[in-house]
Amino acid sequence: MRREPSAALARTGVVFQQPTLDLDLTVEQNLYYQAALHGIARSVAAPRIAAELDRIGLGERRHDRARALSGGQRRRVELARALLHDPVLLLLDEPTVGLDIESRQLLLDHVRALCKERRLAVLWATHLIDEATDESTVIVLHRGVVEAQGRVSEVVADTGQKTLRGAFDALVAGKGSIR
């Protein structure tokens, strides 16, 4: 990333914790803008935008202003936007913060489906521990230190706990609470 930022960024999709859609523009205009920032021609971007919007179930709202969308819908548009340039790595920084239960589940399911369909690696940063399933690979970070790394089942077994939640508590116990 530091040595060749341009090449690295060209293959990385990012969804930020903070909402970053331009609320005054329509859904479609937001996506075209992103495509342009990656140097993608409009003719190439058009079918991709249509496909990504259909996939997240917002195809019919493409001409609506981003402001008119709910929080969960905006998030999904941001996900679609991060995928426009066909990245191999997708970074999501606490993407479910502030979302209702349904939107959160939708987003999780959607990203899991993406991982299966495409050759796509996902780094999902979260503090909502239940978002990691047993098959996920996790890195437990606490105050910038990697406390554990591996499949969820392994991490749980290594700490002698039953759940990831318990494992997390055990790992960070006595290491300075963030609460």
Binding site: Q18, L25, Y33, A36
Partner: protein
């Protein structure tokens, strides 16, 4: 990155800027109404107070309205430059600038695109104003409308770059009102926009030199001369110089390696 990708990136940024401008009706209207208020009220009020003698580029006695029109065109560009820098500060606070920062394009190029986009918007505004001003009997020669285009590009770039420099050094949106007061008004008043500089010289030599150093004076003069099919080489050179200096300073201010932005975001 290929040349075609650079071009697409530029057109995407210009398109976004234009869309935002069109969709924010209030901004469009206020940008247009502001100079017209000056023209309709201020110029009318001073119509007989200030007699303007024959000075280049004019060849006859001119009414005061005609004298201040080029300054008002420059003012449109000044406001536009400040407004687009305001939107940079806003984008940074709201997070939408992050979209820009994860683009694979080099940072300096994105900044230049932004600058060109803002300049394009300001030129459209300037022409709309000039068309309306025509009904106020501000009627420069027809070719003047064409000749003024390069002048508008230069002054638009200079004032836009100045806005970018300011935005890179401003931390919060709240500080912006101060900039309006301390940048826009002094620049506008201490310039040749409202009164010819020989008159200023008669009353205060210090002020005269302040006006001479003020880049806004030269943007105004460049536009004034171009509009009447004359070329003011000194102003052109000075505006170009300022434009380059401001652009370099803005690129420096937004360079992540120098840590100006990083430090700002952390603080």
């Amino acid at each position: 990155m290929t040349a075609a990708q650079y071009v697409r990136c530029l057109s995407g940024i210009v398109r976004r800027e234009a869309l935002r401008w069109l969709q924010q009706r209030g901004r469009f209207l206020s940008a247009l109404v502001r100079p017209l208020v000056w023209l309709a009220i201020f110029a009318a009020g001073f119509h007989f107070v200030l007699g303007v003698s024959i000075i280049p580029p004019y060849e006859t006695y001119i009414p005061y309205e005609v004298y201040i029109a080029p300054g008002l065109v420059a003012m449109i560009q000044l406001f536009n430059g400040m407004q687009s820098s305001l939107s940079m500060v806003y984008d940074r606070e709201m997070g939408s600038m992050k979209t820009l920062l994860v683009s694979p394009m080099p940072r300096w190029y994105l900044l230049v695109c932004k600058l060109l986009a803002g300049t394009a918007v300001s030129i459209v505004q300037a022409y709309v104003f000039l068309v309306i001003a025509w009904f106020w009997e501000i009627e420069p020669p027809l070719w003047g409308y064409l000749a003024v285009f390069p002048a508008l590009v230069l002054s638009g770039l200079m004032l836009g770059a100045l806005g970018l420099v300011l935005s890179s050094f401003i931390r919060q949106l709240e500080n912006f009102a101060g900039v309006m007061n301390f940048v826009i008004f002094p620049m506008f008043f201490a310039s040749s926009a409202l009164y010819p500089l020989w008159r200023v010289k008669e009353s205060s030599l210090t002020l005269y030199w302040i006006c001479q150093v003020n880049p806004f004076s030269h943007a105004t003069e460049l536009i004034r001369f171009a509009l009447y099919l004359k070329f003011d080489a000194v102003s052109a050179a000075i505006v170009t110089g300022y434009a380059l200096a401001f652009t370099l300073l803005a690129v420096y201010g937004y360079d992540p390696g120098r840590g100006l932005i990083a430090r700002r975001d952390a603080g």
